[in-house]
């Protein structure tokens, strides 16, 4: 089955991105396909490559980036939400791309299921 994921919160402050990550890993392990992960609202902060958590904490930015590289997952950061929050190409982690909100709607159309993670 094809899943699309919407993430509405940044790393750390809310568990949303953590839950979405573990869900995505489990979905892939079960043989499902991830059509797209779309980052909206504060979710755009998940793509900030300057993020540097303590060494004994998880690093969601690099976890998403590595997962995308391993499984060719499309990680899309909403341009409108990113611009106002100051997430620009110059601080974007590898594996993420910035694009329009239409990509979220397309993700909903193309996937069999869309799951929203937020606060």
């Amino acid at each position: 089955m094809k899943f699309s994921i919407l993430i509405k919160q940044g790393p750390f402050t809310h568990q949303a991105s953590d839950s979405a990550y573990h869900f995505t890993v489990a979905a892939l392990a079960s043989g499902h396909e991830i059509f797209r992960v779309f980052f909206y609202n504060d979710g755009v902060y998940n793509s900030n490559r300057l993020s540097e958590p303590q060494t004994d904490d998880r690093n969601l930015v690099s976890l998403w980036s590595k997962l995308a590289a391993e499984h060719e997952i499309d990680l899309v950061v909403c341009i409108a939400a990113a611009q106002r929050r100051g997430v620009k190409e110059e601080i974007l982690e590898q594996g993420f791309r910035i694009s329009g909100l239409g990509q979220l709607v397309e993700a909903g159309i193309e996937a069999d299921r869309t799951i929203v993670f937020g606060d």
Binding site: Q15, F23, A26, A27, A29, S30, H32, R113, V116, G118
Partner: protein, 103 residues
């Protein structure tokens, strides 16, 4: 009618998401508790009566990793709520027609 997987990630003693979830869910729907929503599964908590009286109406599930993280692994959860892992979460999404997150 599409079968809905309702996902609640809010503590019942902080937000009112459960009120609306219970109001909007229909008989064949499932309700999955994740993140701070897992506190609604504690058998001895005041909110348990709200869940207990709906156990016959909906299928309830709770995410085990979130239960363990919050130290609820050593206390009684409500009978009739099934504990699932992330794979079970994925299965629930696939088995139902659509998901609704009560943020």
């Amino acid at each position: 009618m599409n079968r809905i997987l309702h996902i609640v990630n809010k503590s019942p003693t902080d937000r009112r998401a459960f009120d609306t979830c219970f109001r909007m869910a229909k008989a064949e729907d499932s309700i999955l508790l994740i993140e701070d929503g897992v506190y609604a599964a504690v058998a001895n908590a005041g909110f348990a009566s709200e869940v207990n009286k709906r156990l016959d109406d909906f299928s309830f599930y709770v995410l085990g990793p979130d239960v363990a993280a919050r130290g609820l692994g050593d206390i009684s959860l409500i009978d009739g709520i099934e504990v699932v892992d992330y794979k079970g979460f994925v299965d629930l999404v696939a088995e139902n027609d659509v998901t609704q997150s009560w943020l």
